[in-house]
Symmetry: C2
Subunit: 392 residues, 2 copies
């Protein structure tokens, strides 16, 4: 049977990273992006789930409305306003099945086959593949140490037709680790407004800052109803429960809600109730402080090891948070060779081309993660990477 | 801002039913489709969740692979084979976020804007809206008391171009309640093969049989790799956990898996572990027997009330299972008037046009549900419907 897959899907490949991880059982997982397991509030979640199933099992197990458990929607709306400085009377918010679903709902609602999505280059592969699956043409704009290159962005906005939105991760960008400066955030917003395109602002790592100061969200400037803001509990509670949210102009949320009805009806109630109770009855600020300490320690450790073992072979900008270090191998080192030999030596890192709009173009970057491996594995893994580099 | 929504989404309306339910707090919910809350295995789920979070919290809370928790995938593959008679060495299976996600993944992978999907008429609105959102042209084929009209199906297959798949609910169809005969299932399969189109077989209600005998699944004939089979735990465990599965030719599953990566990465692990433990460590066959008894009692009750109160005003075929009774109001009764007056009198039923490919065409049907309302509410609700009918 010739299955005749849809345009966007027929050439789509599985995420390189998820494929690496499926087959990397015995390697040291510097390729991963999983939060540290000791950063999960396990005891809180145990208590919450018991409480929820004891007190109102039917609420937890019956169908819910697509928008999300109403008290959680209200709580998240407050949180968005008070903690992240986003949301006006013209916006609404719904609960999603992780932030990935925000990418998916936005794609379903905005992208016709052949439309253009402008993204940072490099960028999060899960989002890029999502846009591709709807037939989007991806146009990349380089990310610098202070965020997207604004001049290049305007060139693309001028040159490209049918641009539906600009996709950006302003905080501790995945994979580049860069945080966009306030000036650039304002400039990006003004360009989006000038050229009449939406902004999809993805902020899964915002709470994982370990140095420097918070920068206002692009959504906080949104007086024109052009920014879709995506938040996630994967990194501050746990990814396995799959809870995120999207805050956007109410007219857009109405469409995203209909799209969500068609995707999964609603996010599981147990997951929603875990987040609701955790936000309202537990010390979530204390927990975030705790995991920031964990991630600061692990980032310091990874950077120390890199400086010691790999200082002669690569350069990188130290991120102010997030989960990743993005490093450029020196000229003369073949990046794919390096990744392959590292894997053979028992350490997985992600080849940088996985994050590019054109995965076949030459690339000198690798992505290393410090949240998933144990401290011992970070030390051991980077030592092995140093040996691999010296051998090339 | 003119948001420029995608073709399929721009004209899409929220599900009529979900909108009715959101605003029907004080009415008797004969419009619903929720399983009976006393059919949830609450005590089993409490024990399972405690066990899971005590014994391996990181498994339950960390990212999982997109295909689903491997032991659950293996168990479901066995279940599909042994209980439902479907699946060969050429098929694979993945866990989904409810059966709704099977509709969504199939749409994402197969439908280009303007492609045709052939569906039963009437059919499940959540699936129809999903296909519509991807820009599908829906072409309906009437459902008779023994399933889809085969001659009309072949006419449409001959006449339409770019038909991507035939969507069918062979058991206790929603809303028509009809079960497709074995002969028609075989004929449908042969037609799909002859015209080179896929079949999407949706079986959310198969375990809810209360009379008659099981009929082989269309997927059980699938030697040509053309049937996508969708299963659900919403009606036999609980809908709020959002767990379903899809069994399809491995080449198709590979694409559906990539699409699922882009939609929600994976189904929440707690939900998956509930189903896994329930299938392997609890008396799920006993539970299904128990809920069949509940549903038989409630169906008998509803039909008895209808015969007594509404016998002069409508006709219907008694279903052999499922959750719904689909009834045709006699000529001379305006269906929409009836639904509006029923709602004003405190009883919600679903106007039949909600289930049609052309929602504006005239329609004499209503859908009534017997799983959600209490026994008392069934009696009271149908009595009110009788009064409404007499008043018209």
């Amino acid at each position: 049977m010739d299955y005749g897959f849809a345009y966007g899907v027929s050439s789509l490949k599985p995420s390189v990273i998820r494929e690496i991880l499926k087959s990397s059982g015995n390697t040291i997982p510097l390729a991963a992006g999983n939060p540290a397991p000791d950063a999960f509030p396990v005891d809180d979640i145990k208590k919450i789930v018991k409480d929820v199933l004891d007190s109102d099992p039917v609420l937890a197990l019956q169908y819910g409305i697509t928008e999300g458990y109403a008290p959680l929607v209200a709580e998240l709306t407050k949180l968005a306003k008070n903690r992240y400085g986003v949301g006006t009377d013209n916006d609404s918010l719904i609960v999603t099945s992780g932030a990935q679903q925000v990418m998916s709902l936005t794609s379903q609602c905005f992208i016709n086959n052949g439309d253009c999505v402008i993204c940072e280059e490099p960028s999060f592969i899960g989002a890029l593949n999502c846009f591709r699956s709807y037939g989007a043409r991806l146009v990349g704009v380089p990310v610098e140490s202070d965020g997207i290159n604004i001049e290049a962005l305007e060139e693309k906005l001028k040159a490209e037709s049918n641009v539906k939105f600009i996709y950006t991760i302003p905080n501790f960008q995945n994979p580049a680790g860069a945080t966009m400066s306030l000036e650039k955030r304002k400039a990006l917003y003004e360009l989006a407004k000038k050229y009449g395109v939406m902004v999809l602002e993805d902020n899964p790592y915002g709470d994982l800052r370990v140095s420097g100061s918070d920068v206002a969200a692009i959504k906080s400037f949104d007086t024109d109803g052009i920014v879709i803001y995506s938040g996630s509990f994967s990194k501050i509670v746990a990814p396995g429960i799959r809870v995120g949210f999207v805050l956007a102009p109410s007219e857009v949320i109405a469409k995203l809600t209909v799209a969500k009805q068609t995707q999964d009806v609603h996010t599981p109630l147990i997951s929603q109730l875990i987040v609701y109770k955790w936000l309202t009855e537990y010390d979530f600020e204390g927990h975030i402080e705790k995991i920031r300490k964990i991630y600061k320690r692990k980032l310091d450790l990874l950077c120390g090891c890199i400086d010691e073992q790999l200082g002669d072979f690569l350069t990188y900008h130290r991120p102010e948070g997030g989960l990743f270090v993005w490093a450029k191998l020196n000229d003369g080192i073949n990046m794919l060779d390096f990744c392959r030999k590292a894997s053979a030596a028992g350490v997985s890192v992600v080849p940088g081309n996985a994050f590019m709009t054109d995965g076949d173009a030459e690339c000198q970057y690798i992505r290393m993660n410090f949240s998933t491996p144990s401290d011992e594995d970070i030390v051991k893994g980077v030592k092995i990477l140093g040996e691999v580099a010296r051998s090339l």
